[in-house]
Symmetry: C2
Subunit: 171 residues, 2 copies
């Protein structure tokens, strides 16, 4: 499991002129929001509009409804059965405390948003963690380094045979 903080892409920006910065912004996802420790992963722009991979439920004590969304590369890889996922694939897991529907008692529905968790595939940037960078965010801010040190260990132990990704595409 990687423990050395990786350089964030945004570190280089103050050194560059405005024109170069604009070029970099256009060319690659540059950190405009706080980045996760260890991995330097940020919340991707527009992820709430990405397509659904699958919903899930996490038991108590978390008691959360979740939905994993993927960018176009991730969705295509799932549908084509491509493993490992290609560089550029990004998965975002949204989570909410589940709460009883006020309108329909047998259903539970999303309540308060809790975490947003991101996996970014970049095999050159993240060679020590299966090619994946991880970020866990609460209210838009990354959680601490200790929490990020647990990400890959768990993915590696449990879903190495699915390119370290838990979620399967819901058909």
């Amino acid at each position: 499991m990687p423990s050395d903080p990786r350089p964030r892409r945004s570190i280089a920006l103050p050194l560059a002129g405005a024109a170069l910065s604009a070029l970099l912004v256009a060319a690659a996802p540059v950190a405009t929001t706080p980045a996760s420790p260890i991995y330097g992963v940020t919340l991707p722009d527009g992820y709430r509009d990405w397509r659904l991979i699958a919903p899930a439920l996490e038991d108590a004590p978390l008691d959360e409804l979740r939905a994993v969304l993927g960018n176009d590369l991730a969705v295509k890889a799932y549908r084509d059965g491509t493993l490992p996922f290609p560089d550029g694939a990004v998965l975002v897991k949204l989570a909410w405390k589940r709460t009883r529907s006020p309108a329909f008692e047998p259903a539970t529905v999303p309540g308060r948003a809790t975490t947003v968790q991101v996996m970014v595939k970049d095999s050159r940037r993240y060679p020590e963690s299966g090619g994946w960078g991880f970020g866990r965010f609460i209210d838009g801010a990354p959680v601490d380094e200790a929490q990020h040190q647990t990400c890959f260990a768990c993915h590696e132990a449990r879903v190495r045979n699915h390119d370290f990704v838990f979620t399967r595409y819901a058909r």
Copy 2:
């Protein structure tokens, strides 16, 4: 609750020439898959790629994970807080039996797909059901008329104050 079967748009097609049929197909969503009784609602093309409104869990005995997706008009209405929903808004609810994740015991994930349920807003076509047409499908085929007769009665009784729509947008 409407009980008279409404004419399906496809009924007119055998009377028209090939050119006119092609025109109609291009101009409006014409039934290319079996349509629901009462409402004549079909599964919309490409709905699996629509954006997520919210996930949900239905308790036993159904024991289903669900995800409601919306077309662009529906998503915009949710985000803008527009009620009633505009004509053309469509919601699709996908449902799967939930099953214990083989990789992570505290989670349940989608298993076998069960129903796909569709709501289409067309206030002129469906004046007797709050402007909504309903369709419930299993393996792409609509369920019977008796089941469709229950749709609006339940929506009317429980969520009249939200334009007859249960699902809220998960933020």
